[in-house]
């Protein structure tokens, strides 16, 4: 019998208190009030900012959940659009929970799961991604053999063939896009430079399932979680490091319910290696760089200081901050799998973030998420901006 990764499964109705007790104070629409110094950057809900109806902000979606629960309304096309253009960035959750102890993000995720269960999710828009996952175990349709192309020329152990201390979980994006190849190579080079004993699952690694989970298809997600956990067990590893923060969140928040795993993001590991003296960035990288907090790594997992510690250790690098930084960070546009359905809207959000980077005087954006890197690169092409984009590992590797 297949193991249940998320047992007992939560359902939308269990969050009745959250969606019924929303006071509609609208604090969730903006950044933390006491940390807003520039009025240009007060907004923080991507879908609400673009589409403007209450339905596109968290209170409107909580109200939808309530009305579905009360059987006041039936799902309609606007509901589909509102639910699936939410980037699940968690900004609303971060504003609401400290004040009201409500979790809008949980409701939003479970609304999508309810949509899939009740068959009103707009899965047609995600059919290519779902079909790719079915055929190739990868949301972008890259076959297993090609997903290890980045390892060519590098001496990387296969954790299924020899015992390693750490498993490097590569993730969907790094293994699928050639533009990201130098970045994942940099991750491996940094770990090698520090003498970390690590390996990968090679072509056996399948998607973390994060893309399926984001659109609410938890059953499908569990297939991937099950497959990966079996591989972890087969390799005998319990310590996992990944630079893909969507995979990181999926493994840390979901897989660990069914398996005893120690999961670290690359940023955490790199910061610790620098602190321990195992890594000594010595080459100067002269650039004014602003760090973009990926939603999954920052707000979701609370990793704000470690990537900054890495950047502060790089000689010559002048670290800047966005107006909306840390818990106030704006999504890059790549959250919630929205770009599969509404790529123009995703790009609109990316451009807003690029504008903000230029506004604070940055020459480069550094981030720690492959989806953010991709979106920023697309945005730069579109806007012809002179900004450069670096993955955290990439810029650290330059300094070694």
């Amino acid at each position: 019998m297949k193991r249940r990764i998320t047992a007992p499964r939560e359902t939308l109705a269990e969050l009745r208190e959250d969606f019924s007790l929303c006071g509609k104070c609208k604090l969730c629409q903006g950044v933390m009030a006491q940390q807003c110094d520039d009025p240009r950057f007060w907004r923080n809900c991507p879908s609400g900012t673009r589409f403007r109806y209450e339905a596109y902000y968290a209170p409107g979606k909580l109200e939808m959940a309530r009305c579905l629960d009360l059987v006041e309304i039936e799902p309609d096309e606007m509901m589909q659009h509102a639910v699936y253009t939410c980037m699940l960035c968690g900004s609303c959750d971060d504003r609401c929970y400290p004040v009201k102890q409500l979790h809008p993000l949980w409701v939003l995720q479970l609304l999508r799961e309810q949509a899939v269960a009740d068959e009103w999710a707009p899965l047609d828009y995600f059919s290519e991604m779902l079909s790719n996952l079915e055929k190739t175990d990868n949301p972008y349709g890259v076959p297993a053999g090609k997903r290890v192309a980045w390892e060519k020329g590098m001496d990387i152990k296969n954790a299924l063939e020899e015992k390693v201390e750490w498993l490097l979980f590569v993730g969907d994006d790094y293994s699928s896009f050639t533009s990201l190849t130098p970045r994942i190579k940099a991750v491996a080079k940094v770990l090698q430079a520090a003498g970390v004993d690590f390996g990968t699952l090679g072509s056996a690694e399948v998607s973390s399932g994060s893309a399926a989970l984001l659109i609410g298809d938890r059953d499908f997600f569990e297939n991937f979680a099950d497959a990966n956990i079996s591989l972890f067990e087969q390799a005998g590893v319990t310590k996992i490091v990944t630079a893909d923060c969507h995979a990181y969140a999926a493994i840390k928040d979901e897989y660990t319910k069914a398996a005893d795993l120690e999961v670290k993001s690359f940023a955490e590991v790199a910061a610790q290696l620098i602190k321990d003296g195992a890594l000594k960035p010595s080459k100067e990288v002269k650039v004014k760089a602003v760090y973009h907090d990926p939603c999954r790594l920052g707000r979701r997992e609370g990793i704000f200081d470690e990537p900054r510690a890495v950047l502060e250790a790089i000689p010559g690098l002048e670290l800047l901050e966005f107006e909306r930084a840390r818990k106030n960070a704006l999504c890059c546009g790549g959250g919630g799998s929205v770009f599969f359905w509404e790529p123009e809207f995703a790009l609109w959000v990316t451009k807003e973030r690029l504008f903000e980077a230029e506004h604070v005087g940055a020459e480069a954006i550094v981030t720690a998420c492959p989806i953010c890197v991709r979106l920023f690169e697309d945005g730069i092409k579109e806007t012809k901006s002179k900004l450069k984009v670096y993955d955290l590992a990439e810029i650290l590797d330059k300094a070694l």
Binding site: K26, W42, I73, P75, A82
Partner: protein, 539 residues
């Protein structure tokens, strides 16, 4: 579209909240006209900016109050004054009601459409059109909220008066609805700081008041002529939609100092006297009496933390914040005030900033700089979840002393909806002198769970009792709308009759103006033209 797999029996007994039909005006909001109005709105505003999808409508059917759901038929989002004119033109043509929606943050169902119709969501009109730091005024649109506006004002060395509400509340709608400031009522309330407005009347005509009417220099006085900006105060859209407003700003003090006079003994009379003395000295920037629980609400980031602070603090606390161009100026003002209180009120304890820091050193959530910024820069956050109802009254400080306890008992607030809610005994009011005088503003808040009928009823009765107590003793309801809405609770109607015998003539006058400005009675249609009464908002 696939049907959701909802249990059939539940579907069979579903209760769909649809707008009431007003028997006296059966021609309003007729089904056959709604489709035509929607098409016309889409043509005027753009396809994207009008919708009748139930999933969109449901977001406008409830608010923070415990008013039952009331769905609009259509929601539209105009982007300009011309768009708002188009909305009214279409609404008149098809006899559809219009309800303005600033940011939708109300505690009394005021932006809910009682009979459906069109919700006019004004959040696309969100520009600060002009801001003048030297002369301290700004002209804004109705979608501008305090979070945005405060940050913009600070960039020109000014600040906006902070209302006792969320940072994301609309500035124009709050100014029109009194705008009771958290602690700056020495400058009056928000409604005292309106310089001029541009409004679209229900007929679609544009009315400009004050300096805006003839393009004069702003910031001096509200003229020329009778100031009809007042027509829109407390009107909740019944006379039209305000599309621009010029409001006063105040200087932002770069340096702050604070003192904390306190009294453990339950002697509100002494405290009222001390408040008056400090207000009269006019050295403080912010001044309020806070009971320990309110202190907790302001200082803690959540209810658990609020309870810890409440236990720590004396029963009565005076929050006194001073501002200055230099640190020395702020310190001097604080020192002078402290000496005055020590001399005249020797029974007061004094909690200097350092002592407060010592007392709270174990609580890492208490950040004194944040605390000052909280009052001066940002606004109060709303802490307790669930429905919220505010009671706000103005009277002489001396009268309040007698009434406060009775009211507090009657309206026992902060009703626990969760384990970590403040205990009911910590429920409290706060007082602040109004305009440096002996009059003061008192607020009492009630929180309840919309999903709990018993809790709702208890709170509603408590609110009615508290308000009736206050009004029967001659207090003024600061939130003026309450006085005009008959049928909130029967006791309140009785209290209105007892306390304000001239209400009938007043309502007649308002109705005549309403009939002149809105012949089809489409704009926030709560008035009945034949009885001259506003329809009850809920129950």
């Amino acid at each position: 579209m696939a049907k959701s797999r909802i249990r059939e029996e539940l579907r069979a007994r579903r209760v769909v909240h649809r707008p009431l039909v007003m028997e006296k005006d059966p021609d309003h909001n007729r089904v056959e006209n709604l489709g035509k109005a929607l098409d016309a709105l889409k043509e005027a505003l753009g396809e994207e900016w009008a919708s009748d999808a139930p999933s969109v409508l449901c977001g406008y059917a409830r608010d923070q109050s415990f008013t039952p759901a009331s769905y609009p038929h259509i929601v539209c989002l105009p982007a300009s004054t011309e768009d708002v004119q188009a909305v009214y033109r279409i609404a008149n043509e098809h006899l559809i009601d219009v309800m303005p929606f600033g940011t939708g943050l109300t505690t009394a169902g005021l932006a809910l459409p009682p009979y459906g119709g069109i919700i006019c969501d004004l959040r696309r009109m969100e520009q600060i059109l002009e801001i003048d730091g030297e002369n301290m005024w700004a002209t804004i649109q109705p979608g501008v909220n305090y979070l945005f506006f405060q940050a913009a004002a600070q960039q020109v060395g000014c600040r906006v008066l902070n209302p006792s509400t969320s940072a994301t509340a609309g500035v124009i709608s709050n100014h029109l609805f009194c705008n009771i400031n958290t602690m700056s009522s020495k400058y009056g309330f928000g409604m005292d700081n309106i310089l001029d407005v541009e409004a679209v009347l229900p007929t679609g005509e544009i009315l400009k008041t004050g300096a805006m009417s003839y393009g004069a220099a702003k910031g001096a006085v509200a003229g020329p002529g009778p100031d009809i900006s007042c027509l829109f105060r407390y009107a909740f859209g019944t006379y039209g939609i305000v599309t621009k407003m010029t409001v006063r700003l105040y200087p932002e003090a770069p340096f702050h100092q604070q003192i904390f006079p306190a009294l453990e003994e339950d002697r509100l009379d002494l405290f009222a006297e001390a408040l008056y003395e400090v207000a009269q000295d006019n050295l403080s920037l912010e001044l309020a009496h806070l009971m320990n629980s309110f202190y907790g609400i302001f200082m803690g980031d959540n209810n658990k933390e609020a309870s810890k602070v409440a236990e720590l603090m004396p029963r009565h606390n005076m929050v006194t914040i001073f501002g200055g161009e230099t640190e020395e100026e702020a310190d001097l003002k604080a020192d002078l005030t402290q000496r005055m209180i020590e001399e005249k009120f020797p029974m007061f304890d004094f909690l200097p900033k350092e002592a407060l820091l010592d007392m709270t050193e174990d609580y890492d959530f208490i950040d004194m700089d944040k605390w000052v910024k909280f009052f001066n820069v940002t606004v109060r956050v709303q802490r307790v979840r669930g429905s919220f109802m505010i009671g706000a009254l103005i009277d002489k400080l001396d009268n309040m002393v007698g009434i406060e306890k009775t009211m507090r008992t009657a309206c026992t607030n902060q009703v626990g909806t969760t384990d970590d809610a403040l205990p009911p005994d910590d429920a409290s009011t706060y007082l602040q002198p109004y305009h440096m005088g002996r009059s003061a503003y008192m607020e009492y808040d009630m929180y309840t769970n919309q999903a709990d009928k018993d809790d709702l009823l208890r709170i509603l009765m408590g609110y009615g009792r508290a308000t009736a107590t206050a009004m029967s003793q001659g207090m003024i309801i600061a939130a003026g709308g309450g006085a005009l809405i008959k049928g909130v609770v029967p006791m309140m109607d009785l209290a209105m009759q007892a306390a304000q015998p001239n209400m009938v003539q007043f309502m007649d006058a308002l109705t005549k103006m309403k009939m002149a400005l809105d012949p089809n009675n489409i704009s926030n249609r709560r008035w009945e033209y034949d009885t001259g009464c506003m329809k009850k908002v809920f129950l």
